[in-house]
Symmetry: C2
Subunit: 212 residues, 2 copies
């Protein structure tokens, strides 16, 4: 991790790389183009980052910080556990749709995109993304534990279910990105509720509930 002081240029480099990589691919956008897009000199780049990979780690952290803000949104607190999960997924749909509306393309998951492209080619990025997938699964696992405690779903291996739900959502994002159609992820709740082992009765009740 780069520990240089934060400056406007460092933030701009991270933002430019996030935008360019997310909309195209890691291989397709190099350091020169990122510097140009950020209005930063190459010397400035290497003041903050030792390499493209080093910048990628900072970009991953930046996307992850944004994701955590959503995961920990206090506005979700009033919802029941599984309802919270459904609202989080509705939020993901809104994000993807806004990208599609403004650029014409659905970009998918920045972590999944980088993981698929780079896992066989960059061991440092692969390991960081693996950690992050497990960390995200832990958030889902805690929500599922709450759902078990609230009697919404039967007792189960909530860790395995959390990973299954994460995979399902990643796969739907992949599918919707390929079809370039965010509407395919508009209603992820039924699949998530089935994976969580919710009864059809509870699922109907929840999906019929007002959405945030």
């Amino acid at each position: 991790m780069p520990m240089g002081r934060t400056s406007n240029a460092r933030e701009r480099l991270i933002e430019s790389a996030s935008e360019l990589w997310h909309s195209r691919s890691y291989a397709d956008v190099g350091v020169n183009e990122i510097c140009e897009h950020a209005g930063a000199r190459k010397g400035s780049f290497y003041h903050f980052f030792s390499s493209k990979q080093d910048l990628a780690l900072a970009v991953i952290d930046s996307f992850w910080s944004q994701a955590k803000v959503r995961l920990l949104d206090p506005a979700l607190d009033s919802a029941g556990p599984l309802e919270k999960l459904v609202k989080l997924l509705d939020g993901e749909y809104e994000v993807q749709r806004s990208f599609k509306d403004s650029t014409g393309s659905m970009f998918g998951c920045p972590f999944g995109n980088l993981a698929v492209e780079m896992s066989t080619q960059d061991e440092v990025l692969r390991r960081r993304l693996t950690e992050l997938f497990y960390e995200l699964a832990e958030h889902v696992e805690r929500i599922l534990d709450d759902a078990v405690a609230a009697g919404e779903i039967p007792a189960q291996d909530t860790r395995a279910t959390a990973i299954a739900i994460e995979a399902y959502v990643e796969g739907m994002l992949l599918f919707a990105k390929t079809a370039n159609d965010p509407e395919l992820i508009k209603d992820l709740a039924p699949g998530v509720l089935r994976l969580a082992g919710a009864s059809p009765q509870f699922a109907e009740q929840l999906v019929g509930a007002p959405q945030a």
Copy 2:
């Protein structure tokens, strides 16, 4: 689709591109390297393919033909519908594990990999991969229709369930590729059976059944 006569060189180019792209990424391997790997001259390449994209379409068709052989394997005919699905997924695990054993890396799904990397950058590949995901979902849908008819699962929107199952499997492949651990996809049956709405009793019976 290239319609030039089939020759050993054409097959070798497709095989080399399949191997190199699957193990690394589309952007990382260019026409020169593919020609070198295949022992083919560049003139030979352009006799068979008009571009890298044109070769990619042939590679997609080649992977898809191999997948269909597995989907239509007559050895699966004796199994019940959902058991057939579980056996297909067991086969996918074996394929991924053999790549890991022989190369040290798990490569994931060739269609998912290309779709994630190229969907925002190549409209022709994106459209072909979208068609293919829907075609694969149709195979799963037919199995689910059989499962409904056999009373294994309740009547439902089998098309939506097929897409959910395909997404779940793609997502688990993505996750296992990132973790570089094929054991993560060793047991996809419980998630698939939950998505299909199978009763816990039926799922237990099926997962306990001897595996092919």
